[in-house]
């Protein structure tokens, strides 16, 4: 008799009537065959597997995470709100202990959406996991959260949102940025001065197979997670490391994804990319669901799977080992790295440029953050988009110390209204969002 060992929740929102445009990979058809496979397997009939209806994320839910420019409505569609709401529905069920863990199979994806969002980049407009994490922190008072991004592309959006946050450990495994969009996510990208080492980027060479991928999980991700000891583990479960994915060059498999899930034991998984919609997604998603539920997934194998053909070369194995050692070293040095990054009371300035490939927007940012040893530190971002708007966003982190809360208000009050079209204040301790 089939019965889930772990009570598992699923939100399935394939948005069968939503696409970026008619021939875009992020299209209506994307989860069709996954749904077929999941329905044919009778997954929703298995005792211990519960299907949830997505919630609808509110404007306020988005405002905890993003500065949407000029506003939330201009950047999102209803489908985005349902997708974020899907992740939130699973979070609610996990936090209320209705289920042990859950998987939000939602569209559209979100992990390329950064804190400032002028539009779409990498098929993403708002960040589902980040919105969910901020919701969990506000609603349930959870302190430490880890996000493991296993999409084949660097989770640069999530990376950006938690860049300065020492209480959120973000680890991204992805195909080397020199060979893949968005071209970032190198080992040296470790987070802001107050949060060095709480962002870890693990680039993997093209051709990495199940063996190499699971090596990193076993020898790097799991030990670091054990040390960080998060209250909640979130998996940004992109499925484009698959050997048939049309947009990437990796050799991961359905069995590999299921193993990964069984090892990582995420409390919440949220679907990200993955565009081999016929040959990979139906099997990968089924494997993830069965692994989460503690069920036997050994029969979930792609019809054309040939492990011999997918074996990785010795040089790839060596490269992966070197990267793993380097990341482990950074993690061990994180406290020194923070010390070296600046002195308390110092204001650190960072300039950066962001390109929105989906909506063809170019953005320049100037960010200022106060060095603080007690919290993540308040910061402001001066953001100018072409074409688009010139705005300023001020962020006070949820665990901000009293001094940094005051410094945040100082940024906001001193901001020159004549210089910016809009000035936003994200006051996370008070869960408030103000615009002037």
């Amino acid at each position: 008799m089939l019965k889930a060992l772990n009570k598992t929740g699923l939100v399935f929102f394939p948005a069968f009537d939503w696409a970026i445009d008619p021939t875009h990979p992020e299209r209506e058809e994307r989860l069709l065959y996954t749904q077929d496979q999941v329905l044919e397997e009778g997954v929703f009939d298995i005792p211990g597997i519960v299907e949830y209806k997505p919630d609808l994320a509110t404007i306020h839910d988005i405002q905890r995470t993003h500065f949407c420019v000029p506003d939330e409505k201009s950047v999102t569609t209803q489908s985005h709100l349902i997708s974020a709401g899907g992740a939130m529905a699973i979070a609610n069920a996990v936090m209320n202990k209705e289920i042990k863990s859950g998987f939000a199979l939602v569209r559209p994806p979100g992990h390329h959406a950064m804190r400032v969002s002028h539009g779409g980049r990498g098929f993403c407009h708002i960040n589902m996991e980040a919105i969910m994490v901020e919701y969990i922190r506000t609603q349930f008072g959870v302190k430490k959260i880890a996000i493991i991004d296993t999409d084949c592309h660097h989770g640069d959006g999530t990376n950006d949102i938690f860049w300065h946050d020492p209480d959120v450990l973000f680890i991204s495994l992805h195909q080397d940025g020199r060979t893949m969009y968005p071209g970032t996510g190198f080992p040296g990208e470790l987070g802001g001065p107050n949060a060095k080492g709480s962002n870890l980027n693990i680039p993997l060479p093209p051709g990495t197979s199940t063996e190499g991928y699971l090596y990193v999980i076993r020898n790097c991700v799991l030990p670091i997670l054990a040390e960080f000891a998060p209250d909640i583990v979130v998996n940004s479960a992109g499925q484009d490391n698959h050997y048939t994915d049309p947009l990437t060059n990796m050799n991961f498999s359905a069995q590999g994804y299921a193993h990964l899930t069984a090892m990582l034991k995420p409390d919440i998984a949220v679907l990200e990319g993955g565009y081999a919609i016929e040959g990979a997604l139906p099997y990968v998603n089924l494997g993830i669901i069965l692994a989460m539920a503690g069920l036997d997934y050994s029969g979930v194998i792609e019809p054309d799977y040939n492990p011999e053909k997918l074996k990785q070369s010795v040089s790839i194995t060596d490269k992966i080992k070197k990267t793993t050692d380097q990341i482990n070293a950074y993690w061990q040095q994180r406290h020194q790295l923070r010390e070296q990054a600046g002195k308390p009371g110092e204001l650190i300035v960072r300039h950066r440029e962001v390109f929105y490939d989906t909506d063809n927007i170019f953005e320049r940012q100037k960010e200022k953050i106060w060095i603080c040893r007690d919290c993540g530190g308040s910061f402001e971002i001066d953001s100018k988009a072409t074409p688009g708007h010139h705005v300023l966003g001020v962020h006070i982190p949820i665990n901000a110390c009293k001094a940094c809360q005051e410094k945040g208000y100082d940024f906001f009050e001193k901001a020159d209204k004549t210089k910016y079209e809009r000035i936003y204040l994200q006051d996370r301790p008070k869960d408030r969002y103000e615009i002037k």
Partner: protein
């Protein structure tokens, strides 16, 4: 004139209806060890004053299949199952003689691994040696491509009496349910065939030679002939019969709750604009899950004969039944005794009823009257609480498009229709407690037989058109045709209507009761590969809705 007959657990109810109204009602006790005698007794009494030549329609509903399933009285059935990637098919075993074999079809109906014909031959020999006469064959995704099932059947045909194929039971995806349903069809076939051939012959002896209709779990009928391929569809037709019997009294354009309050349980169902809500996939009762089209009903273990107890100073009702009410010679107090004490019910021994309620009243520190009222109110509360939970559940069902998420139908009933023995006593109380218009259905005790008599033929077809692969299919109907790249939504709907009409006529529908067709599902997808469109996938499901045949409903309304 038309006849409806429903064999229930305790009574067999039969009615004779004419365009003037109810001509005759017959109630005979059901003999669970010989349902055939119960059916025959019903017909004999019904027809003793009527000329069989005047009968235009006969619909029968029985618990034959349900009993067989509950009592596991089924012969040995061979099952041959092919799966491919996914959950281990051995987990869906139906018992002995269950074989998993090579062969795999994927979600788009493409063959990924072939059938091994030698393997099938070998299993056929083993099944024959084991004395198996009926075999079910099911492959994963056979509703997308049934060629493996058909090939296996060809090999088996010469060895067995009848071979049942998975893709014929439903157009819906769900491999484990397809296995269970195919198995059930094969398992009850012998019993069903013998029973209804006997009924048919006996009725013919009485001069009733017209085609017999059989009630299904979805509240529709099918002809005796078509029931031979799908005998499992007759399971749980009893609750469906009752719900259909409530339809004449349901207002159009409104959502209605139907409560069938019996002795041990209360069945709960919903009508939307006079059409009952259906299960999305099929009947499920506890562990048992199937693809048998069915009305969406749930039951709560509470009824007129539920056992009353006081535990830690609190009253509990049911879920068990120890026997009839004390007023009718039962062993302990029941809600029916409370009705007698309250003076609502005239039948029964009021002294015995009072003695039973007095016992409960003592433990609750209440007067007899207050205790009886408390019991009565609590019954209503328990039933309505369960009903509201069901409504919440229905309204929070997952949906898969932005449109349905934002504009999906929300059930909000404004009326309650009550069926069953104690129905008439409950109507006023429920209305008073919940401020919802509540009405006991006239002739509630034979509403099931009336429902059976008036139920029209129902059926459903599922189609998929795939312009990339150039084919439109409805494998459940053994239909597949080549199509061009320009095949449109309208073409698909037209094909669907043609197939539905054909299926309805084959199932015994008469042409004047085939108008209530509804598109249950329609989906459209562009197939995109490498940024360029390759074709379209259209999927639709249309049905002949459950409902009542024309010409009798208004008469009933005047009763």
């Amino acid at each position: 004139m038309i006849i409806g007959l429903d064999v229930g657990g305790t009574h067999t109810d039969a009615v004779l209806l004419s365009t003037k109204g109810i001509e005759k009602i017959v109630k005979v006790p059901t003999d669970p060890t010989n349902l055939f005698n119960s059916v025959l007794a019903g017909f004999t009494q019904l027809l003793d004053t009527t000329d069989p030549g005047e009968i235009q329609r006969v619909v029968i509903s029985t618990t034959l299949t349900t009993n067989a399933l509950v009592q596991q009285e089924m012969g040995p059935i061979g099952m041959i199952v092919s799966a491919g990637p996914g959950i281990d098919p051995k987990l869906f075993s139906t018992g002995d003689h269950y074989y998993t074999v090579a062969g795999s079809i994927n979600h788009r109906g493409r063959e990924k691994a072939p059938v091994n014909e030698m393997e099938i031959e070998d299993i056929a020999q083993r099944l024959k040696k084991a004395g198996v006469a009926y075999v079910g064959v099911v492959s994963k995704f056979s509703v997308r491509n049934p060629s493996h099932e058909i090939l296996i059947k060809r090999i088996l045909n010469k060895h067995f009496k009848k071979v049942f194929l998975g893709h014929h039971v439903s157009g819906n995806l769900n491999f484990p349910r397809r296995i269970a349903t195919t198995h059930l069809n094969a398992a009850v076939f012998d019993l069903h065939k013998a029973f209804f051939e006997a009924v048919k012959n006996s009725l013919a002896e009485k001069g009733l030679t017209l085609p017999i209709q059989i009630l299904k779990a979805d509240g529709g009928t099918m002809s005796l002939e078509s029931s031979m391929d799908f005998p499992a569809q007759t399971i749980l037709s009893g609750p469906a019969a009752s719900i259909m019997g409530a339809i004449p009294y349901a207002p159009a354009d409104q959502d209605v709750i139907v409560l069938d309050i019996g002795g041990t349980t209360t069945d709960i169902a919903f009508l939307v604009n006079k059409a009952p809500l259906l299960e999305p996939l099929g009947i499920q009762r506890g562990q048992y899950k199937s693809l048998i089209r069915s009305l969406r009903t749930d039951s709560k273990g509470i009824g007129g004969d539920s056992a009353l107890r006081v535990i830690d100073g609190k009253l509990t009702i049911g879920p068990d039944r120890k026997g009839p009410a004390m007023a009718f010679g039962g062993p302990g107090p029941t809600p029916t005794d409370a009705l007698v004490v309250l003076g609502l019910m005239d039948e029964g021994d009021s002294q015995k009823a009072r003695a039973g309620i007095h016992e409960i009243a003592g433990q609750l520190n209440l007067s007899d009257m207050d205790a009886a009222d408390h019991i009565f109110k609590k019954c209503c509360t328990i039933i309505l609480k369960k009903t509201f939970e069901m409504i919440d559940e229905l309204n929070s069902q997952p949906v898969y498009t932005v449109h349905d998420f934002l504009e999906g139908y929300k059930l909000s009933p404004q009326k309650i229709l009550l069926l069953g023995g104690p129905a008439k006593f409950f109507a006023d109380k429920i209305e008073e407690m919940y401020q919802i218009d509540t009405m006991a259905v006239p002739n509630a005790s034979v509403a099931n037989a009336i429902g059976a008599a008036l139920a029209r033929t129902t059926c459903e077809v599922s189609l998929i058109a795939d312009t990339e692969q150039g084919i439109v299919t409805a494998h459940e109907e053994d239909f597949a045709e080549p199509i061009s790249k320009t095949y449109s939504e309208d073409d698909l709907i037209e094909t669907a209507y043609t197939l539905l009409k054909e299926k309805a006529l084959n199932s015994g529908a008469d042409s004047e009761n085939m108008e209530e067709v509804e598109v249950v599902e329609f989906q459209k997808f562009n197939i995109v590969r490498n940024f360029s469109p390759r074709g379209k996938i259209y999927r639709t499901k249309i049905q002949l809705k459950p409902g009542l045949i024309k010409g009798f409903e208004t008469i009933l309304h005047q009763i």
